[in-house]
Symmetry: D2
Subunit: 295 residues, 4 copies
């Protein structure tokens, strides 16, 4: 996995521009000339064109511009002309404006632990604004770090009421990204549509194998020789959303369900942490049900 | 993957004993005392007990015994008493008696090539007696090694007739193991029941994901971040037989179906070669729909 | 990596027997008959013979015996005859008697965190008796878990004095195993000889590459495409002791020294955790400068 | 490993441009505008700047331009002005002009086999013009594919004479890249300087571990838990040239030197094949003793 290099620069002056449009001659020239003329220095750029399929073009720039925050509005205004010409969809984001995240968790807190750890060591560039759980297991850890912890009991009979509380909380805390770190409740379409491509889940199998409940039991019964985990954006089709990252680990006949779970937890935590990191750094673009990840 | 060490010993005197029975105190003592008293020196032993599930005990011995071929009958006779006492299922095999194999292949011959290559370099301890194909692509390669190549055109309309020919051929060549090295025809239950746990297939996906046809296309459409391959024994449930080996390789958004296939072929060939090797060395025990692999 | 299965058994009645001797016919028979006659039921057994090199035989048994703690002395006494006959070196250990460990750490606490985490989740079967550091960074974490933390400043000028304090501490806490979780001080031969094959170190490179100081800087300069970590027993030859476990991770030209370190820390923590786990479960046998690991 | 996607385009019209210069604002804009104005459509672009170290900028373009071969000279001429302004080092290459390669091999031909195989299946975009060996082992295979095979016995006493013959042969066959596929002879500085960054070697260890002779024996003696292979450009420092690719595979105490070799051969062949493929596609840039690989 690659980790990138711009550590020393003044974060206030770092911006990102993501662009998606129909592929045409001259796009890179137009974009890079725009950045140059606006005195933005390109730190990193990645592009992809899906020419054989639908002819779409995708690019991500990370750039450095002195006094970026002052010039920001002017830059975005100037860009709108290029965007119009090429019919681009685009997003400007600013490194200084950290995304605000909420973590949802149930009884098993290993993924929560990993995220908090990576966050403490500076690898996850986010404000963890709130943790929500239908169990109390994570409270001590979360509160010890000064993060608010909300215990909201949940089950399918009170789903609507629970989700109303959760949506209200997400609004109160102005959440940009919602991380399901082994939150073992199904979310309704109504909830999901509040956060399109903003809910990241970790599923404890190598999707599309073992969609749904109890994947380790089913992996055991099928006698697989590798187990896996998958991090994906949540859509209304259970475990069918765009995949951000996957990984596997070798197992053998000596493993039973509890030991598969132990091994799987290691995979889950690293897969989720990578996916969240890439999302926070605006490295993931969703294209239908697939992702382009510029890591 | 481990490769084992007995290279120098006189192969004529190497035997293997596989045993399966209800777990009880004294089994290892009885078996190892039996081997000791019959002057068989244990070269390698591996055991497994599935105590929490069904209390079964599995063991594989590889041993060295001077004049094994002369003493073989006597050894097997003597063993029958122990086997009776513990109600054991068991198999004696002899390293000198190579299994005879048939390879079935269609248009894509990369798995065939890998098997022939490993066989030439001494890693697959088998007599490759015959290659059968519904295409002519492999003929030159196969015949250049002095192996008979049978072209038997196949499609679903003439399946019965084709399988009759194939079964006859397997009998004629006294085949012990039948390797489907990307043979793209479905075998009927009638064919399969002639060769229980003796047909090894390579499926070009990480089962149980993408069972059936066109797995690379479906992997592409699902946007997976790893692709895999699975080698398994063939049963009458398509792609549902006991898994012997699996592996995966990382891919990304830049891959299209042709490049997924290229990467996948590398995985297929190493997964199949390992599974065949382990089968030939009597390292695989089938337990319901799972395998115990003593590699 | 395999994790094994005996979770439910009464731990009081689980014992382990490790044996090393010249390979001869009849050893397995003698050992398994001994266990059987003493009513010990074998849960797991692994063996290895280095026949081609020096003809040594190694075996590890994990067994279950009702009232083991009461029968323990009698069992060991009875064994001494077999041991004498075959000139065996051997060790009896008892699952109920957890090894007592000390963790040494400096400024970077990621390996300490991983060990504490695995220990809390029940994966490291040890009493962590004390943590020693030449920095204060780990204190809050360690004390929050009720483990004594000793700050002992260290540098090469006061090495002798520091080591005297440390040895005294190890005695006071009756330490069985000493884990160097990125302790960045060199230990003297005098210190090391107090703890033969009982000090486990993590070195932040794929040994024997980059022995000594600043391995990530040197890996960067050499332009390697993978970085690694190595856990080994400490001997008086710096970074030359018997290797227990190693692993690697892919890097590329975009990585600089700080990002190599970040990636490397993930490798270090999992490599050390595995090595410590295997040591605690008596799965590691040292053979000259190599290890046999029955995992 | 990623394999890229442009399969269907008319190869005649595909070109590549590699550029290296001091990083300055406006480079990407200048280059992409140049390509756009010359009607070259960018298929793939990858860039890297080593800002923290020496402020160098590297970029690789793959582009499509109708009638490229006719416009080629004009394009290169036009570019010279930009190159001058930014003080660029640069290379134009053309997909239609395959590199001509020579393979050097000794007794062990597994790497040769892998290269020939990948070449036959269209994955190595080269003309294999000649194979040179100090043994006869590869002759039958090589000649069966219509490739000239030269047997040139070699040893250190006749090195100079041998190398003269080899250099003459390389000239006769107009060789662009020289692949040492386990050629077990040391090349003199005199030979090497004829082919700067054009000789690709496979070393059978994870460099810088086990530089020099007999790496598997030394890996065995050191008791490593992974073995590796390294492909690198040859310089006059033995096994010290810029690394293109490395990989490792897990081994354990059961492996002896012959089985380490078997496992290692699998690693060697895939590592060399990747490195050669990337070199042939102009994906590798040498920067001091390191490589930038745009795969």
């Amino acid at each position: 996995m690659s980790v990138h290099t711009q550590y020393n620069r003044n974060k206030e002056n770092i911006g990102r521009l993501l662009v998606k449009c129909q592929d045409k001659p001259g796009i890179v020239a137009a974009l890079s000339t725009f950045l140059y003329e606006n005195e933005a220095n390109i730190l990193e750029s990645s592009q992809f064109s899906s020419e054989e399929e639908d002819g779409m073009f995708y690019i991500r720039f990370e750039y450095y511009l002195d006094d970026l925050l002052m010039k920001r509005q002017q830059l975005e205004n100037a860009f709108s002309k290029i965007a119009e010409k090429f019919e681009m969809e685009y997003t400007f984001t600013y490194a200084i404006k950290k995304k605000r995240s909420a973590i949802f968790v149930s009884k098993e807190i290993h993924c929560l632990q990993e995220l908090l750890w990576e966050w403490q060591s500076g690898d996850l560039d986010t404000d963890i604004a709130v943790v929500v759980s239908n169990h109390e297991d994570g409270r001590a850890l979360v509160e010890s770090l000064g993060i608010p912890f909300y215990y909201i009991p949940a089950n399918k009979d009170i789903r609507e009421e629970v989700e109303q509380k959760q949506v209200a909380l997400m609004r109160e805390y102005e959440i940009d990204v919602l991380i399901l770190a082994r939150y073992m409740q199904i979310l309704t379409p109504n909830f999901v549509e509040h956060f399109p491509n903003k809910i990241i889940n970790i599923h404890h199998s190598f999707l599309p194998a073992f969609i749904g409940a109890r994947p380790y039991e089913r992996a055991y019964n099928r006698g697989v020789k590798l187990i896996g985990a998958t991090s994906h954006y949540v859509t209304n089709d259970l475990d069918e959303g765009p995949i951000i990252e996957q990984d596997t680990e070798r197992v053998d006949h000596r493993n039973n369900v509890p030991t598969l779970k132990k091994i799987g937890q290691q995979v889950e935590r690293r897969v989720l942490a990578r996916a969240v990191k890439w999302h926070l750094e605006d490295r993931v673009i969703v294209k239908d049900n697939r992702t382009i990840v510029f890591h």
